[in-house]
Assembly symmetry: C2
Amino acid sequence: MSDQPVAPVPPFEPPYYTVVFTSLRTEPDHGHDDGYDGTADLMDELVTTVPGFLAVESARTPGGLGITVGYFRDADAIKQWRGRAEHRTAQRRGREEWYEKYAVHIAKVERSYGFERGA
Amino acid sequence: MSDQPVAPVPPFEPPYYTVVFTSLRTEPDHGHDDGYDGTADLMDELVTTVPGFLAVESARTPGGLGITVGYFRDADAIKQWRGRAEHRTAQRRGREEWYEKYAVHIAKVERSYGFERGA
């Protein structure tokens, strides 16, 4: 997630899909690299190669809740991303090692708008 | 946002709506309370009184992107929340003072699932 741009991605032209992934991490074992950061960076790269991918952005309050939002042109793009071999491996490790708890909400965007200072 | 629970809210039974609000704050004027935190806390309280409100959760990477996700039973609940007088005032101050840039994505959740360790 280190390479994510800071600014929010602009709204796209509806309809498109969004995947909201909210998570609480397991307690980190300090001094031990559990592979989470490397895998997160890899997933952020891989997802951009999915046909229909639009954007992804993440925020995590230190020690708290993480929210990652992915934007895709259609439901099929999400299905493809879910089924990618590397992503499936990451999902399994997430359940086994990295997450205390998570929730996923898959939704069709009906309306979107944005604001930019001075625009 | 200080009173937000740390754990992600569980998935609800579809269909429901989600509002994804992503933002970049203006540069804070240190030592000067610009009213942002107080208003954010007030909005987090007020939104819970909207009929059809389900939950809200936020994460903000320090100095970076903020993501707030609201969950509502239907589109009418979102419309009511948008139109609330206090919320309209907060929206205006957001554009005038608090945000460099933001985007809003309003979407109908078609599918949701969750994971909890040991559950």
